[in-house]
Assembly symmetry: C2
Homo-oligomer: 267 residues x 2
Amino acid sequence: MRAERAQLAMMLEVCAFPKPGNVDRCHDYDTTWLEHFLASTILARPALDRAERGDGEIGSIILDAVERTNVHSGGNTHFGAFILLVPLVMGGDIPSTDRLIRKTTVEDSVLFYEAFGKTKVRVISGDELDVNDPRAVDEIRQRRMTLFDVMLYSAKNDMVAREWINGFQMTRRGADLLKSHGCGPDSIVKTFLDLLATEPDTLIIKKHGKDAAWKVMQKAQDVRDGFRDLVTFDQECIDAGFNPGSIADIMIASIYIALGEGWVWDC
Amino acid sequence: MRAERAQLAMMLEVCAFPKPGNVDRCHDYDTTWLEHFLASTILARPALDRAERGDGEIGSIILDAVERTNVHSGGNTHFGAFILLVPLVMGGDIPSTDRLIRKTTVEDSVLFYEAFGKTKVRVISGDELDVNDPRAVDEIRQRRMTLFDVMLYSAKNDMVAREWINGFQMTRRGADLLKSHGCGPDSIVKTFLDLLATEPDTLIIKKHGKDAAWKVMQKAQDVRDGFRDLVTFDQECIDAGFNPGSIADIMIASIYIALGEGWVWDC
């Protein structure tokens, strides 16, 4: 049930429209399409089943998920989402997940970096231990960093890693917002906009710098407050290549949690 | 691998756009959305896994698939597709599937009708043994009709049932057309149009009569031959409620076969 719920969350997130800057049912990027996200959603199932059964450690299951979903030409679709979903599916709820991730090992970190090496996720140069740099494995072993330590180290530049450190705060907030907006796919769009209006997306920061991410955040506030048109804003983001992919990853985790707490997607 | 391939076929079919009259990535029906089709695609996995493992008979696996996918409010999405996919996943290829379906039993028919009763598929009144009438179970037992016999009986009014009888001819043709149109989602649209231009859809016949189905077929020919605009035709079909759902079911089977023969969906 939990694996399925994670897949439904991945599917619902990518379909929700209009989602500023991201792939949705009406927008593809040139090399990454709606179908790539949905194929990854389908192909991840056995890894998510392992997470639900507790069959293996976090690092090995994230690696499994990446290997299974890496078979199409659409590049990375769900690496950030797996960083959140795999422990959440293993843990069941946020408090249990919180205890679980604090018990990760150096081996989890090594397998995580192996997984990372198989994606094409953006690397920040000059930061030898960033979660986004696959060359850091030797350093990891030397410093005996667990996967939790890696996330702690990466949290300053990566809002997905930050979720591990702060008890899944944004995930929790997203789930609460979803429920407050009521049932149905429109609530996903509204919640996405709420999150986008509150924090600069770290994927946009990595690709385009802090100023771009702040501008997107401010425009999202305008849209939320009714001063700017959502569809126009979406198109602006797409044209500029501003894709808030980290908030999308957290959104998936929020949908997963909300579904488990009775939020209804089809009404 | 076969279960996954069946899911990919279901996902690719529903996303392909523009698909005259059917749900696609840009069109929902009021109560049946893209997300309902994709949820069913995800939820069917354990039943398709059973088909791949040969764990159970055709009737019980079709019932399993229907029960698992019946949990959302979108109504029937894939009953016709399961009638084709379950034996195809069990059989592996068309010749093996052909042998398999000729060995079905009365028990398969009974479970099939139980599955049917849980969908809201259109019934033809006045035909006490039609595949689309759940009240026919007693009659089935009395006449000792296997599921193959039921399909034989239903073939005159139902092109999905006809596939069982004629060695999956339209499925085979669709797979060959897909490959001839080349890789990528556009080939799905072209193949769908080819099939729509060749045979009247039996779901349209059941809902709107023969004349409507013939008109749709003729307009599809015009579109294929460049005399009519595809997007306009799509909108006309949607406005009139003409949804060629049986050809969509067969299209899913064609994609499944083509994927198994090396056709590439993302290029």
